[in-house]
């Protein structure tokens, strides 16, 4: 009896006194992407369902328990049916929630490689040039199935990239194998999450994270609408890409997808909420996505040692100036998601920038991109559109090179047979459009 009592006491105390590692808070009522995104009109999701309010991490012994709080009570999949058939989704959704995907990208500043900059395929956003992640926690109603879907997407991306570079494309099985071994281990898909009202709790083993989270670890948290059913690709997304259990942002008004008065394109961010503690910053950054210059939205990372401050991403100079306005037919419209871009200025008072002195003091060194010396495999590069050399350069901005120089180099590549005619035509068009 005494042993039982002691055990219960231990369990009780450990439950009550789990150590809090950090709490990040987000702006309330910003579950609208870049500001123009509306929830699906049919009521499948309601405003507030994806409005993240806070993320807390607690040290739970050999694991870390994350607690994510939303504005609305989190709904259970019990009694919910698929979009078109009478099949209850609980027959294949075994988690306690079904409306949300939560991505947490972490930079542990570890020497372990590899590091990445892209988010889960289809989210359509990335980290800034000087930020990377090496651990990703993807909380989804389909944790057992999502690994396969991500693998498939990465295989497609990698094949396309290799083909465009003129690299002989290995067979899909070996690409898949490569990704499963080198990329997927950097993802963790929690299962057996628990819901308490508005809070979603899940545990992540420290063995995956590489230890107890430290104050200098950096985090990016994004929320997308979950679609528990697997679907084919959607034509406005990147070619052959499919949403990874995600309800996309489409525009218009639809019962199943996020809408608004805009038309989605291959660079439209499908992210509904980002954990950023300052007002309007999320809207500013998500609106940076630009189809014409093939630019994804760039999002900041938070760390406990700097919170509530954070490093505002450098805004690509190519978004400023009249050249962009001339080629963007949407820029003159007041409600365009891109309209505010020309007014953005990294040095404006709206930016949250840690002063150089503070940054040097906290990091102890001049800031360098967190890219290891590990040579990236072909699969790892699928997530990172930049080569290692480019990633290591601070403030890398390819578009800083003069267009004429780039056109001359393109001619050289064609003459040397390193690119096809089709590739030549397409690249030439894009260089000219960026002028």
């Amino acid at each position: 009896m005494r042993t039982i009592f002691a055990a219960l006491t231990f369990v009780f105390c450990s439950q009550v006194f789990a150590q809090s590692l950090f709490i990040f808070e987000d702006v309330k009522g910003d579950d609208h992407g870049w500001g123009e995104v509306n929830y699906p009109v049919g009521g499948k999701l309601r405003p507030g369902d994806l409005d993240i309010l806070s993320v807390e991490a607690e040290d739970d012994g050999d694991s870390v328990t994350f607690s994510v709080k939303f504005k609305n009570k989190i709904d259970s999949p019990e009694g919910v049916y698929g979009d078109d058939t009478g099949q209850p989704i609980s027959s294949y959704v075994r988690e306690a929630f079904y409306k949300q995907n939560i991505d947490i990208y972490i930079n542990t500043h570890s020497d372990d490689a590899p590091y990445f900059r892209g988010l889960v395929p289809g989210r359509n956003a990335r980290l800034p040039n000087d930020k990377t992640w090496n651990k990703a926690i993807v909380v989804t109603p389909r944790p057992a199935a999502i690994g396969d879907v991500i693998t498939q997407q990465l295989v497609r991306k990698l094949k396309k990239r290799l083909a465009s570079e003129g690299v002989r494309v290995p067979d899909e099985d070996s690409l898949e194998d490569d990704i499963q071994k080198k990329v997927l281990p950097n993802f963790y898909f929690p299962s057996r999450s628990r819901v308490y009202g508005r809070k979603l709790k899940f545990s992540v083993p420290k063995a995956f994270l590489g230890g107890t989270p430290q104050k200098n670890w950096e985090y990016l948290v994004v929320v997308t609408g979950a679609d528990v059913e697997t679907r084919g690709s959607l034509p406005f997304m990147q070619e052959d890409e499919q949403p990874v259990f995600m309800r996309p942002v489409v525009g218009g008004g639809n019962g199943s997808t996020f809408g608004g008065m805009f038309r989605a394109n291959a660079y439209t961010p499908h992210i509904i909420d980002v954990l950023i503690p300052t007002d309007k910053t999320q809207e500013q950054l998500l609106s940076l996505a630009d189809e014409n210059t093939q630019q994804f939205a760039v999002l900041p990372m938070l760390s406990p040692e700097k919170y509530p401050g954070f490093d505002m991403p450098d805004i690509d100079a190519s978004f400023r100036g009249k050249g962009y306005a001339e080629y963007d037919p949407w820029s003159a419209l007041d409600r365009s998601p891109h309209a505010t871009r020309s007014s953005l200025d990294a040095t404006s008072t709206n930016s949250i920038v840690i002063s150089p002195a503070e940054r040097k003091e906290s990091s102890g060194a001049e800031k360098e991109p967190s890219v290891s010396n590990h040579t990236q495999t072909l699969s790892e590069k699928a997530l990172n559109p930049y080569s290692e050399e480019q990633a290591k350069k601070e403030n890398f901005n390819p578009s800083n090179r003069p267009p004429l120089e780039r056109l001359k180099e393109l001619e050289t590549l064609r003459e040397e047979g390193k690119i096809s005619e089709k590739e030549y035509d397409e690249l030439r068009r894009r260089i000219i459009m960026s002028i």
């Binding site: 049919g42 058939t85 009478g86 465009s164 034509p235 008004g253 093939q294």
Partner: protein, 680 residues
């Protein structure tokens, strides 16, 4: 190659991958293919649903066959402000692969067999871009913006069978509004299951009955501009008109008069300002008017989904969810609820909604007669969902779906604690239900219909309403004094075996008692023809104990398997003697004799297989059921008078519900459903 990679990257200043050239104009096509396989020991070929439809000539349902359903969805974002879409769907249900494509009489001219494509779900959505209106949708809609108490889900084949106008907008940053005009479904949204006084299936009646302008209107405001409070208010009005009989002169148009008018007002207020507790209060008031003399052959009576007269009532609940009292992973949810016996919302959710916290009754004992459809003794798996309407619908559904059950008249309290101890998720429930429909003789409420007096309250016995565990549509009896206690204990734990062995246990206890007639005078009136001797003789006592362990395992990355065993131990003592055509107890209405000991063993094996682009699910179930009937005799003479031997040599006992064989009855059911879904 490395040079080329770098060179290309610098040339274009972005990702090397070339994005697809996508045209935003024109039609976009999507689709899905759904394949269903059924198998069972009833060997019924009446359709590819466990429970079919009840409209004339509808397939009743079956447990055999293979069939495929193909659906093409099209969508076009015509401009930034305008989108349209729809579906082309091949009809299902009797399109067996064994039809071999189907030709000739019976197959080619049968809508469910010939797989004709039907246009469904067509809509236009306009997002004009004004600050006060977000979108307007014309056409098909599932009206999911509203709630189960007012305008709810009403799948009858498809979720978007309903059509209307839905507009949504914002009032600054603090509130949103939704408005709808939904065309009232003439198939079922009225007394007698239709919105017209004449036969809805007869073309000749189209000029004499009015249905096309009947509609449900709703205006909803959602306020969430505060950190502390969220609120939603709904105003709903339903109007069903018929031609006015007194208008003999059509030269100035034809007058109409309301047959049904239904107003519902109410809403939900939630307190969200605390991390420790969430409080929400739901309240709806309904006013229902039903002119029984305008229904023609459908003016009222027993078989109708709405009360036979004019009444007002309220329904609501108070939910207090304590989520954080300083103990990690502990919470408790309290819910007080009341759904008045007269609460009526014509288009409240019929299914796929669960308005109460309690698990309620089990769907496993909700079934049709064994001769109708092939749902069989197994009913629907799992606990039933609760909806606030008499107009419950479980048709075109399979045994692996959740049944819906009416909770009209329910009032009570639920306490549901939950805790995680040492990685074991433990949750429970205690529910006590009293009934607003406890009365004698329908509370003396009758209405004149033509030259007859009919009870205000319909009783839809016959639609599996008198099965053990209660049915899904029957909320009213002439005499009821009922209370129910439900207790549930659930636990879930993942063993550290392989990829993790998910174990679970559900224990459930239901005690449902109904004293029915409780006064001597009423007893003498009801049972004047005999059959019962004392007040307790017509009582019903139902006790159910369920023991249900489960084991689930991720066999492979793509395959999950789950095994569930269910042991039901049910004791029933039901003194009913049948129901007369007037709805009162008395001989005449067919109902199964239930008194005795029921024991059911169920083994359910489920698979879920996933590949990117493909989803497969399967349920195989074996059910063995044993029923040992019990009888009560007043005395030895009574026993001698009622016990006899039939031609087969079986001992039979005469009861108020017919002769019952006095020996243990064994039933067995095997059923299988496998489905494959591909979306493209």
């Amino acid at each position: 190659m490395g040079f080329k990679k770098t060179a290309l990257a610098t040339l274009i200043g972005a990702a090397v991958t070339i994005p697809a050239t996508v045209s935003a104009e024109g039609l976009e096509w999507f689709g899905s293919v759904y394949v269903k396989f059924l198998d069972g020991n009833d060997h019924s070929n009446n359709g590819m649903y466990s429970l079919g439809g009840t409209y004339p000539s509808a397939p009743d349902g079956g447990d055999q066959g293979q069939a495929i359903e193909f659906e093409m969805l099209f969508k076009s974002q015509v401009s930034k402000q305008v989108e349209m879409g729809g579906r082309l769907k091949g009809r299902f249900n009797r399109n067996y692969w064994a039809n071999f494509g189907g030709f000739g009489p019976g197959d080619e001219d049968g809508l469910e067999s010939a797989q004709y494509f039907k246009v469904r779900g067509t809509y236009v959505t306009v997002t004009p871009g004004y600050s006060w209106i977000n979108s307007i949708t014309l056409g098909s809609n599932d009206f999911g913006q509203f709630d189960a108490w007012t305008i709810g889900k009403m799948r009858y084949i498809d979720r978007d069978n309903g059509s209307g106008i839905v507009a949504s907008g914002s009032i600054g940053d603090i509130a949103r509004w939704d408005f709808t005009r939904m065309s009232l479904p003439k198939l079922w949204a009225g007394p007698g299951w239709q919105t017209t006084s004449a036969d809805k299936t007869t073309r000749g009646s189209y000029n004499t009955s009015v249905f096309a302008q009947d509609a449900a209107y709703a205006l909803q405001f959602t306020f969430d501009g505060s950190d502390m409070v969220q609120a939603r208010t709904v105003f709903e009005y339903v109007i069903d008109e018929e031609l006015y009989d007194g208008d003999d002169d059509p030269s100035d148009g034809r007058r109409t008069t309301p047959r049904v008018e239904n107003t519902v007002v109410g809403g939900v207020v939630s307190f969200t300002g605390s991390d420790m507790v969430g409080v929400s209060a739901t309240y709806y008031y309904s006013d229902f008017k039903n002119d029984l003399n305008l229904g023609g052959d459908y003016g009222g009576g027993r078989w109708t989904p709405y009360i036979n007269g004019d009444e007002s009532d309220w329904a609501g609940k108070l939910n207090i969810d304590i989520t954080d009292i300083g103990i990690d992973d502990f919470g408790v949810n309290f819910e007080l609820f009341r759904i008045g016996a007269d609460y009526t919302s014509v288009v409240a959710a019929r299914r796929e909604s669960d308005v109460l916290l309690t698990e309620g009754f089990e769907g496993s004992f909700m079934m049709r007669n064994l001769t109708e459809g092939s749902l069989g003794i197994g009913g629907f798996n799992g606990a039933a969902q609760q909806v606030v309407t008499l107009n419950v619908d479980n048709e075109f559904a399979d045994f692996d779906e959740k049944a819906a059950q009416t909770v009209i008249g329910w009032q009570g309290i639920t306490v549901a604690p939950r805790i995680n101890i040492a990685d074991i998720d433990v949750s429970g429930e205690f529910t006590y239900i009293d009934y607003d429909s406890n009365w004698e003789n329908f509370d003396d409420q009758y209405e004149m219909v033509g030259e007859s007096m009919v009870p205000l309250y319909p009783q839809m016995e016959g639609d599996s309403s008198i099965g053990i565990g209660s049915g899904w549509r029957s909320a009213f009896q002439a005499d009821q004094d009922r209370e129910t206690v439900i207790a549930v204990l659930k636990a879930a734990y993942t063993l550290d075996v392989g990829k993790g062995l998910n174990t679970g246990l559900r224990l459930k206890f239901i005690d449902d008692a109904d004293n029915r007639v409780t006064s001597e005078s009423r007893f003498n009136e009801v049972y004047a023809s005999g059959g019962l001797d004392s007040l307790d003789d017509d009582d019903r006592d139902f006790e159910m104990f369920l023991f249900e362990p489960t084991i689930g395992y991720q066999v492979h990355n793509d395959l999950y398997a789950k095994l569930t065993y269910g042991y039901y131990d049910i004791d029933v003592n039901d003194g009913k003697v049948g129901y007369g055509d007037d709805g009162h107890p008395g001989k005449g209405w067919t109902a199964p004799y239930e008194t005795g000991e029921h024991e059911r063993h169920s083994l359910l094996l489920q698979f879920d297989y996933f590949l990117p682009g493909l989803e497969v699910g399967s349920s195989l179930q074996w059910i063995n059921q044993y029923y040992d009937p019990k009888f009560q005799f007043n005395n030895e003479q009574d026993r001698l008078a009622r016990v006899s031997v039939n031609e087969e040599g079986d001992t039979v006992v005469a009861t108020g519900l017919g002769d019952v064989v006095d020996e243990e009855a064994k039933s067995r059911q095997y059923r299988m459903k496998t489905w494959v879904k591909v979306k493209f």
